[in-house]
Amino acid sequence: MSHEKGTGDMNPVAENETGFELSAEDRAAFEAIVARYPTKRSALMPTLWLIQDRHGYIPDEAVTWAADRLEVSEAKVRELISFYFMYRDTPQAKYVLQVCHNISCHIMGARPLLAHLEKRLGIRVGETTPDGMFALEGAECLGACGMGPCMLVGKHLYEHLTPEKIDAILDSMRRGEPLPADTDRDLEA
């Protein structure tokens, strides 16, 4: 009688079997990542970022694909996604508004600001607007405490927030305008 060793997660899976594929551009970036990092497993975090930057989140098929390519079990990939707050495994709202509620921003008025946002958006912290446009989240310290209250949206940090500024930002987003470039700051030469 034959006896199969439990395969757990270590079965190699062909790319088209998972139904997940990288674009040619991303594939080149992925190869570069793997070449740069000393072990396959250490390439996991930049790979997950590559996937999330492209898709807005990390789909299940991508988890299987990444586990296979980087020779770890799916459980280990999911550990990372569950541990690091920035990785998301479900589709996200167009604008995820992460408002810092840690101590310095709190002192400078984060709480009323969040209340204002809740009112403007008609949702509570932790929720997404029905049209999928805005999600409102509280965030821990974003490392811009002297410029608070702060809000992180994608890669962009909004500082020195007031209810008026919030309104302007939301309107701009609703109009589909791109987020401000961070080099657009009033700086001395």
Binding site: L44, L80, H106, E137, G143, G146, D182
Partner: protein
């Protein structure tokens, strides 16, 4: 005191183009690297940094040159890592350095890597820095293109690769072994010691992790000499320190000061005192993970490692949080306990359970449902956490908690006696993903 004398690390802060390579080079950038590789050797570089008394600027304050000396001399593969995971509440100096002066960080990291004979340097940047991560990557690309990184740098025979590694949202990755573990593609959970990273760290090889500010100081120290750095501070706290200041003062932001400066002077002259209508109540000096000081205690101390330790707190990361009189201290400690509960990696029991427990008890008090026993329980829980864990996150939660209890106990008791029910706080607190 001419404040411009102390614009060493902050020289390019607030400038539009300081982050660009040509500007950096024009101001003498990469000269220290050139000389270190061309005219010096790793041991000499280490000795210089050791002599300067430069202490780790991430929070631990361990002498950098001494740490570098722990690497076994015959090690074949060594790694260097720059801790740019800045997540300590109240701290944002590394953001400024990476924003306005990434090349100083890169040059400092390269020199430091050379000093320990590292072949690979990883700059671990927290993911929330967003666009800033791209800026640092661009700067690294510039450095490669100019020959300051890669194989046979400036014809010296020394080669160094530099990776910008983007974090993904975990305060615990700021702990050096958590950082190392994260780079290996695992959760950023700290590693038990022994082994110590300088002997066995990343992939089992000697690994040195230094803070952004620490490495940023290295080029200047090599250019001007160890003594020049020593002259800027006190005997045990040499050089300058970047203080990140937040709270309702007139001039918040990142200020570079000579170590040893009296807080009173810093507060009045540099920060301009409290903003209109605000009154000073308390100060957290070094990022939220250190004991809080009352206004009076703060006014009587100096800003350096020893003085702050004597005052019953720590310099830590230099993340100064100024707390005004209008603030409810129990509300603030709830904010902090929420933070540590959020960020505990969950590995070891006293921290995992204790941070959650502290948060629950404080929340209960704020809802007006607490008792005097609950206040005592807070102290007991702290005792069951401090000094008993793998890494200092438990202590980081305990220090503010115990100090708030010790200095502001009447505010806690008032909640019990007056039974003031507060608005439930989950409305504004981040929902934890399940």
């Amino acid at each position: 005191m001419n404040r411009d004398d102390y614009r060493i690390l902050s020289k390019r802060f607030g400038t539009r183009d300081g982050h660009k390579l040509p500007v950096y080079e024009a101001q003498g950038g990469y000269g220290a690297l050139r000389r270190a590789l061309g005219e010096s050797d790793p041991a000499t570089v280490t000795e210089t940094v050791k002599a300067s008394g430069l202490r780790g600027r991430g929070g631990a304050g361990f002498p950098a040159g001494v740490k570098w000396g722990f690497v076994p001399k015959d090690a074949e593969t060594v790694y260097f890592m720059v801790n740019a995971d800045e997540s300590e509440p109240g701290t944002f100096k590394d953001r400024f350095l990476l924003d306005y002066d990434p090349h100083a960080v890169i040059e400092g990291a390269a020199i430091s890597s050379y000093a320990v004979n590292a072949c690979l340097c990883v700059i671990y940047i927290r993911g929330e820095f967003g666009w800033l991560v791209d800026r640092v990557q661009t700067a690294v690309d510039e450095a490669y293109a100019a020959g300051y990184l890669g194989r046979d740098i400036l014809g010296s025979g020394y080669g160094l690769d530099m990776i910008v590694h983007k974090g993904a949202g975990a305060y615990i990755c700021g702990e050096e072994t958590g950082l190392i573990n994260s780079v290996t593609g695992r959760k950023g959970q700290p590693l038990i010691k022994p082994p110590f990273p300088a002997v066995s760290g990343f992939l089992g090889k000697p690994t040195i992790v230094n803070n952004v500010e620490t490495v940023a100081a290295v080029p200047w120290i090599l250019n001007e000499g160890a003594q020049a750095w020593i002259d800027l501070g006190t005997e045990k706290s040499t050089g300058t320190k970047l203080f990140s200041v937040s709270g309702p003062v007139r001039n918040p932001g990142v200020h570079e000061i000579p170590m040893g400066l009296a807080f009173r002077d810093f507060f009045n002259d540099w920060l301009g005192g409290m903003a209109e209508g605000e009154e000073l109540k308390a100060v957290i000096m070094g990022g939220s993970s250190v004991p809080v000081l009352t206004a009076e205690e703060a006014m009587n101390t100096r800003l350096d490692y020893e003085s702050l330790q004597e005052a019953g707190t720590m310099l830590g990361s230099g993340g100064m949080i100024v707390i005004p009189a209008r603030c409810d201290m129990v509300e603030l400690i709830q904010v902090l306990m929420h933070f540590y509960w959020d960020e505990s990696c969950g590995q070891c029991t006293p921290c995992r359970e204790g941070t959650g427990w502290l948060h629950r008890i404080v929340r209960k008090l704020r809802r007006g449902e607490g008792t005097l026993e609950d206040i005592d329980l807070l102290g007991r829980v702290c005792e069951g956490m401090a000094g008993l864990t793998i890494c200092p996150l438990a202590d980081a939660a305990v220090m503010p908690m115990e100090s708030f209890l010790q200095r502001f106990r009447p505010e806690f008791e008032a909640l019990v006696h007056e039974g003031r029910p507060e608005r439930p706080d989950s409305r504004w607190a981040r929902e934890i993903r399940s």
